[in-house]
Each structure stands twice: as structure tokens, then as C-alpha cells.
């Protein structure tokens, strides 16, 4: 390609509340501009992972270049950066936003504004993006686009009267969206002849090419042979290939110039050298200052991940290493548990992130895992003045050494139909929430603001919220900070032996309830043995709950005749196989399902 006309570039992303149709709209835009025929289109082109397609969510930000001939007869380069919608992946969103000049705000014509709509808009505005709304799903019978337009103007203050009315599903209004992009998103500024200054917004690892760095050029140009320097890490390398993104593939090109979004490879072996948010410059003609980067990602949730079969420890380590290459927000370090053996303490952005990583490990790497209860990072202030950040409950110092503890608190916004305000407020109360305010969006909807301890929302808050609002509540949060709290460690003893992998930190007031539920759950998970097994919950050495697994009294087949023999053999083998996969704690064999079952304590009963 010859010199790109910078005034014909539009870098934009699409932001929306989850489920409002972001990925579908992206698909239609790609289809409309003729990149792929509809026959070639797989639903949700940009969601590459099986997992993304299945769950209908976007996890990794994806980028694609589109050529569009506008009504003014001119050809434009549109760089679309698809972003994740879930609150856990806000981090990915903010990275993508920094690479754009504009954002399409997709709002569902029947649902209207939701908590994440607001969060995403504010984030886009913080990045100085030009945001314009699009009303989607206008084909639904429940659509009320005019009211939604008013809502957008009233609540967010965005001009919405001429917002394109779209049905991404049915391909209605896509042309208008494309025109609006050309018209409303500003062309990138920046000097193609200045010193190279490019922002790394993502990177992935390819076993042939090494690290593939995704970047947005602010100034200057980059091509094969350019000697680049990453300003934060200081790593230098010679560019082997530059190019841009087509759906599902990389298209090499001659050079990338200011304003463009693309990638380069430089035989970089280590993803750590290309930190997301870092600035790339030309080693021979460096720019004066790095671009403002991003906030470093904070792991919010921690849990232990262990191979179900201890022999697969190194497979798990390799898998985590590879996953981290494509997901820098995943943290892990080795740890040992008496009950579970060798494994890793892993840090995640949130519970969905944990879920996604766990599923990817199981599916893409064919691993069978045992996960311990997720927890947050607690600050433990010791009497000797030391402060430790606790990610594994087993490492809690002796109570006598603890001066006080602090736990993370989030600011939560819950958008809910007014009829469900009662039940939702009650839920927040149960989760130790501190009420801040209620704002009425319209007569039927309100935005509740609460301060909530993070450890109260990482388990099943989403589920509880959905069930108590019949699916009509949406939720967003951000970390506020740490506050002192009366926290205790709850231990579980099985046959009088403490099982470290089942310990967790809980607020003192909830310890009894939680302990009881765990004992009740575990009693159904631990198979009967030849002897009776007490299951006890204890806090500071004091037993607060107990259940008992009765001794096994019957394990026999009534019949074993000609046709039953092969079946009996299979049954015995299955029992033996099951036993092999159990964890031995003292004289008790604990199945992996027991460790998992305590993750799902239903708080409604």
C-alpha cells in the first residue's frame, strides 16, 4: 500500500452492556464491507475461542481492518477493535479504548441503559473518545427506541435523536452505522514523519514468529528492519514483519504509519519484554517521551489450582505458562498443599476470568483440575509492624501475631427495575453492603449504589442478583480500597485432621453460618469409609459446626451371574479408578468433587 491518507482512517471500538449485541454488530459491519461473504461468516467472527462463541461473550479484545467506500465516494480504512463486555474484563476494554478515537455505544432497544453501559461510556469519555449511540434490537416486539433515546440523553447526556436504529441480527441499519463512523469518529492526529511512538495494546505468542505485538501508532512509522525499543523494559529488536488484521488472520504489509492499528513481529521470545501499555519507539531515533500507559492490572481474586492427578503437575505448569503468554492478566505462582500436593496459586481479574481460565485449561490443555475456594487479597497487619498481602488463607499468621486485618471494598452500581429494589437491597444488606444512594433513571428503573466487600461478591453474587430480580438487574463495580474488618480463618477438619485446601477467610459474623453449610455439603461429598468420619468446622481452634459421614455398611451386588461378570469387573475398576483420583488426608480419601462442592454454597437456603 502506498502512503495512507491519515484523514481516511477511523479507529473505533464498540462498547455495550453484555448481551446488547456488540459482537453481532461487529459481524454485520465486517460482512457489509465485503471482507467476508455471509457464507464464510461464522457467527461472531471476532470471537475466536470456542469458549467465546459458546458462551456468547468476548474475552480477548480483537481487532480487524475494514475498507469502506462511504457515500462521499471516498475509501476509508476502518479499524474496529472489539472489546469484552463483562465487568471482569474492564482492563481489556481500557487498553482497547486507548487505541481508538471513537466508540460506538450499543444500547438494547428494549433493555435501555444498564450498569455496564454507564461504566463503559464513562471509561470511553475518560479516554477522550467521541462516543455516539446506536440503538440495537429494534426488531424485537418489546423495543421502545424513542424512550431509550431519551434515556440516553437524560442519563448520559449524549445526543441521541439521530442515533442509527439497528437490528444487527437482521442486518438492518448497518449502512447508517458505517456512515456515522466516517462522519463522527475523528481521523487520528499524529505526525507520520515524527519519531516513532506506538502504544502496545496487546500481544500474543506464536510458536513460529515469536511474540506478535499489537500496537497503535501515534507518531512516525514502522517497517521491516526498523530497530524498535520498548521504552519501559528497554528491550530492543529488529522488526521482521509488519501488518494489519483481517478477521482471523494477519495480513503483512509494507509499513504502518501514524494513526494506524496493526502488528509487528521481531523474533521476540519473551512476552514479558513487550508489556502491554508500553511505548514502542525507534531505537535510532527515539521519541522524547513514552505515551501514558495503562494502570497495571490488579488481580482481584485468587485461588489454588491443582492437577486432579498429581502426575500432571508439569503439564499444568506448561499450560499456565502458555496461557499467560496470551493473557498477561493471569498471575500464578507455585504452592503446596498438604491435601492437594503441588499446584499453583493463581490470580484473576474476577470470577468470570477464573472460570474462563479454568475452562481453557481443561479444554485446550485437557487437564483435570481441583480448584480451591476463590478468595481476595487481604492485608494482614502484624503486631511487629509488618504488613502482608494474604492470597492463601493457609498462610495466615497466628492470631496472636495479628494486629488487625483489612479487606478490599468495591463501589458497586446496580441497575434494577424499581419493583425489585427491595429484594436487591436486602441482598446487599446480607452481603455486608453499605448503602450509598438510589438514583431514579426513569420512573421504573433505579441505580443503586453500594459499598460491598469484594469477598462477598466473588462467589455467587451475580447468580443471587439475577434470581432475586428475575434477571432484570445489572451490576458493575470498581475497587474502592481497603478497610479494616473483623475477619477470621475458618478451618475444616476431616476425621480430626485439618484440610488446608478447604480453609478460607470469612467475616466473623458469617463464620458460623458458612461453617455449617460447608459441613452439610461435605458430608454428602465424602464417600462412606469403613469407619465413621466426623467433619468439623473450626475457628481459632473452636469447633463451630459438625456433621458425620456414617460408616459404610453395604457395598455389594445382589447378583453376579453369567452376564454380570464383565459388568462387575467394570464397576470394581471404576471404583478403583475413582479411589486413585481421591486425595488422601490422614486415613480418609477425599474426592476432588468435595473440594469443588464448597465453591457452590447456595446462600438462599
Amino acid at each position: 500500500m502506498s502512503e495512507v491518507d491519515q484523514s481516511r482512517i477511523r479507529n473505533f471500538c464498540i462498547v455495550a452492556h453484555i448481551d446488547h449485541g456488540k459482537s453481532t454488530l461487529a459481524d454485520r459491519i465486517i460482512e457489509k464491507t465485503g471482507l467476508l461473504t455471509s457464507r464464510e461468516m461464522q457467527a461472531q467472527v471476532l470471537d475466536n475461542m470456542d469458549l467465546e462463541r459458546e458462551r456468547g461473550i468476548t474475552i480477548k479484545a480483537q481487532t480487524v481492518r475494514i475498507i469502506y467506500t462511504a457515500k462521499d465516494g471516498k475509501e476509508y480504512i476502518l479499524n474496529l477493535i472489539d472489546t469484552p463486555g463483562h465487568v471482569d474484563f474492564n482492563y481489556e476494554v481500557s487498553r482497547s479504548l486507548a487505541a481508538c478515537e471513537g466508540a460506538i455505544l450499543v444500547v438494547d432497544a428494549s433493555q435501555g441503559i444498564e450498569a455496564q453501559t454507564l461504566a463503559n461510556v464513562y471509561m470511553a469519555l475518560e479516554h477522550d473518545l467521541e462516543v455516539f449511540p446506536v440503538i440495537n434490537k429494534i426488531d424485537l416486539p418489546s423495543a421502545h427506541p424513542d424512550e431509550v433515546k431519551e434515556e440516553i440523553e437524560d442519563v448520559i447526556g449524549l445526543e441521541a435523536q439521530d442515533a442509527p436504529l439497528v437490528s444487527a441480527k437482521n442486518g438492518i441499519g448497518i449502512e447508517e452505522v458505517l456512515e456515522a463512523i466516517v462522519e463522527k469518529v475523528p481521523a487520528p492526529a499524529g505526525d507520520p514523519d515524527g519519531a516513532l511512538q506506538a502504544l502496545i495494546f496487546d500481544s500474543i505468542y506464536d510458536s513460529y514468529k515469536g511474540v506478535i505485538v499489537f500496537c497503535r501508532l501515534k507518531n512516525g512509522r514502522i517497517k521491516k528492519g526498523t530497530r524498535v525499543r520498548m521504552m519501559a523494559t528497554g528491550a530492543e529488536a529488529e522488526v521482521v514483519e509488519v501488518g494489519y488484521f483481517a478477521p482471523g488472520q494477519f495480513i503483512p504489509c509494507e509499513e504502518l504509519t501514524a494513526g494506524l492499528v496493526g502488528y509487528f513481529t521481531a523474533s521476540i521470545k519473551n512476552v514479558k519484554d513487550t508489556r502491554v501499555g508500553d511505548t514502542v519507539t525507534d531505537a535510532e531515533r527515539p521519541c522524547a517521551e513514552p505515551l501514558p500507559g495503562y494502570k497495571k492490572v490488579q488481580s482481584m481474586v485468587y485461588c489454588g489450582i491443582y492437577p486432579a492427578d498429581a502426575a500432571h503437575y508439569s503439564d499444568l505448569r506448561d499450560a499456565l505458562e502458555k496461557l499467560q503468554l496470551n493473557d498477561a492478566s493471569l498471575k500464578y505462582e507455585p504452592e503446596t498443599s498438604i491435601a492437594l500436593g503441588f499446584g499453583f496459586r493463581c490470580g484473576f481479574l474476577g470470577l468470570l476470568h477464573l472460570d474462563v481460565i479454568q475452562e481453557r485449561l481443561e479444554r485446550e490443555y485437557d487437564l483435570d483440575l481441583v480448584t480451591t475456594a476463590p478468595g481476595v487479597i487481604y492485608k494482614v497487619f502484624k503486631t511487629n509492624g509488618e504488613c502482608i498481602e494474604l492470597t492463601n488463607p493457609s498462610n495466615l499468621p497466628d492470631p496472636s501475631e495479628i494486629e488487625h486485618m483489612e479487606e478490599p471494598i468495591v463501589n458497586a452500581e446496580i441497575m434494577v427495575s424499581t419493583e425489585f429494589i427491595g429484594p436487591i437491597m436486602q441482598l446487599c444488606q446480607e452481603r455486608r453492603g453499605r448503602y450509598l444512594s438510589t438514583e431514579y433513571i426513569e420512573t421504573t428503573r433505579a441505580l443503586l449504589k453500594y459499598e460491598l466487600p469484594l469477598n462477598e461478591i466473588i462467589y455467587d453474587f451475580f447468580d443471587a442478583l439475577k434470581s432475586r430480580s428475575r434477571g432484570y438487574a445489572s451490576f458493575d463495580y470498581e475497587l474502592k480500597g481497603y478497610e479494616p474488618s473483623k475477619l477470621v480463618k475458618l478451618d475444616i477438619l476431616i476425621n480430626h485432621e485439618q484440610v488446608d485446601a478447604l480453609s478460607f477467610i470469612v467475616h466473623a459474623d458469617g463464620a458460623y453460618d458458612r461453617g455449617r453449610k460447608m459441613c452439610e455439603k461435605l458430608v454428602n461429598e465424602i464417600p462412606r469409609h469403613l469407619f465413621e468420619i466426623p467433619i468439623q468446622a473450626s475457628v481459632g481452634g473452636k469447633i463451630i459446626a459438625r456433621t458425620t459421614v456414617r460408616a459404610m455398611r453395604k457395598d455389594v451386588l445382589a447378583k453376579c451371574y453369567g452376564g454380570d461378570i464383565s459388568r462387575k469387573k467394570k464397576l470394581l475398576e471404576k471404583q478403583k479408578e475413582g479411589k486413585k483420583r481421591m486425595r488422601q488426608v490422614g486415613s480418609v480419601e477425599i474426592p476432588q468433587s468435595a473440594f469443588m462442592s464448597v465453591l457452590k454454597l447456595d446462600n438462599d437456603d
Binding site: 462412606r528 469403613l530 456414617r550 459404610m552 455398611r553 453395604k554 457395598d555 455389594v556 451386588l557 445382589a558 447378583k559 453376579c560 451371574y561 453369567g562 452376564g563 461378570i565 464383565s566 462387575k568 469387573k569 464397576l571 470394581l572 475398576e573 471404583q575 478403583k576 479411589k579
Partner: protein, 380 residues
Amino acid sequence: MTDTDIMLYIHIPFCVRKCSYCDFLSQPAGKDIQENYVDVLCRQMEETKDKAVGLPVSSIFFGGGTPSLLTGMQIGKILEVIRANYTLTEDCEISMEMNPGTVNPADLELYKKAGINRVSLGLQSMQPEELKMLGRIHTAQKFLESYEMVKKAGFTNVNVDLMMGLPGQSWEALGDTIEKIVAIAPEHISLYSLILEEGTKLYKEYADSDTLLTEEEDRALYHKACELLQKAGYEQYEISNFARPGFSCRHNEGYWRRRPYLSFGIGAASFFEEQRWNNTSVLKDYLRGDFTPQDHEALTEQDAMEEFMFLGLRTLKGICEDEFTRCFEEDFREVYGEAVDRLLAEGLVQERERSGSCWLSCTKEGLDLNNYVCGAFLLD
């Protein structure tokens, strides 16, 4: 019996109606299908005869389904074909399962004439409400009539099948059933603890019911029942089987002692020359004459050792350690010493001297945990 004896099993997959607990291959079928089936059975027996050359047959078993749905003529024809193609020992035990309400004096006489010398009657219970729950087609009265008919026809070796551990079953009910059966004094009684098999009608109705017996309740009933039968002169020789002296079922003993058997009819399992296989379980295919072995499995020495243990340990007599050493030419203690010691310590097995050999068997507790015990004998 000699070391070369084999056994034959003939599966009759027809029923008047399926019982609510049954997950066997059985179904109601018309007369012409039954006739057709008998022909195909005979053909399979003819085609298989070469395997059994020089091997005397010491036991034949007609199982089902309900074999007594076949007429005396049909059973006669099958046994004729067997005699024409196989060598039967003089004392060959020929058993046939019958359901109360499906027998009549005329056919019984023909069965007897054809060579049937042992009858197994599926009763399950003498309690009307239990029979109803199980979906049986007969009443307690009907059973007594059928039993009378069987005795009158001259059968001197009769088994009655009973079932225990039904949802909500009390000892009064089970004890009453056993007492009533002991009173008519059959030679053999089988007492099966109910297994709720997934997919059965009973499973659907009771799987989540709180009337299901707990392990403790089930075992209490079982122990009382064993005691009662023992007192009445029935010796327990296997987990679910009781017999007056000299009347244990030769066919079933054969299964637990790994005697080879050839089987005919749909879904029937064979064990021959250390191989196991099944006939097709699709009636349509079988009727077309498809006798291809399914799920064929060639047993390794290790498989054979495991089977030796887990089958033998179902019997009260247990397994003979010296026989194991002799059969496999490996020292029993060498292979299983560790497992035996552990189970001895747990009180689940015992070692006893019997005519100069050491026998290993389950204790009373070990019988209740038979799967656990047998699991210990699976080799890595």
C-alpha cells in the same frame, strides 16, 4: 463334575409384562416371534457345537425373561437339538426359570419329560402390596397354586426367588414372606437385595423417595433373613443364595468357579477358553441369524486372577489359595498377600483350613462390603 465340564445357558427374552424393577433383556412378544426365536436358537446351538467337542455338559440353564412362556413342545425341541449336538453328563442339571401364573400341568409334564430337572420360580414376595409395587403379574395365591403344580408334576429340586430391601419394607413383611416359603419347603431359596436400576419404572418412582431403606436398615433386614433361613435348614452358600444340603445350584456355582459356558439367545454372555463375549442384544438382528460375538474380550492371566478372586469371594466357602497357586503357577501370597493382610486386619476376610488347604472367604461384614473386598484384588 470333571475339569473339562462346560455349561450351556439359553436366554428366553419374553415376558407377559415387564416388571417395574427389571432391566434385563425381556419384552412381551407374539407367538410367531417366539416360534421363530426358538428356531434361531436351535440354529445357533447347531452352529456352535464344534466348540464343545469332547467337553461334557454338566449344566443347562433356561433363563429369562420368562422361559415358561415357551410351550412344552418348544422346550422339548430345544433340548432335543442340544442332545443331538452336545454330550450331556448323566447327572446334568437342567434348570428352568418359571413365573407363577405362566405354568400349567400339561406343559409342566412336557418340560419334565424333556429333561428339565430343576425349577426356579420367581416369586419375590408374599405381600400383596409388595407384589404390586414390583409390577408382578401374579398374586401370592397364584404362586402357591403354581408351586403345587410344579411339585405335582414331579419336580424334586425347586428354587423360589425372593426380593428384599424394597422401599419401606419392614421386617414383619419380609419375615412373613420367608416364613411362608420355608413352610412349603423348597429345596433352594434365592434372596436378592433390590437394586434400583436406572431407567426402570421403580427407579423413576422411588429413586428420590424417603422410603428407600438406608444401608443400615437394608443390612439389618438381610442379617435377620439370613438367620431365619439358616434356622430353617437352608445353608447360605453365596451372598444371595440358600439351599438345603446338596441342593446348591450347580449352574450358578459354575459361574463363581469360572467354569466355561456357551450361551444362546439375545444378549446372552459366553465364557469359553478364557474369552468373554455376548450375543447381539437386538432381537431383530438375532432373528436374522446374526451370531457375531459382541464386546469380545480375551482375558489376560491377570484378568483371570482377578476374576478368580472376585467371583470366588461371593461364595461363603471362598477361594482356595492352593488352587490359585496351582492354576496360575504363581504363589497366592506373592500376588495377593498384601491385600489379604489388610483385609484380615479390617476384619473383612478370614482364612480357614479345609481338608488340608487354606481357604480365604469373606466374614459376615466382608459379605456386606463385597465390592470393597473384591476391589482389593484388582491388580495394577
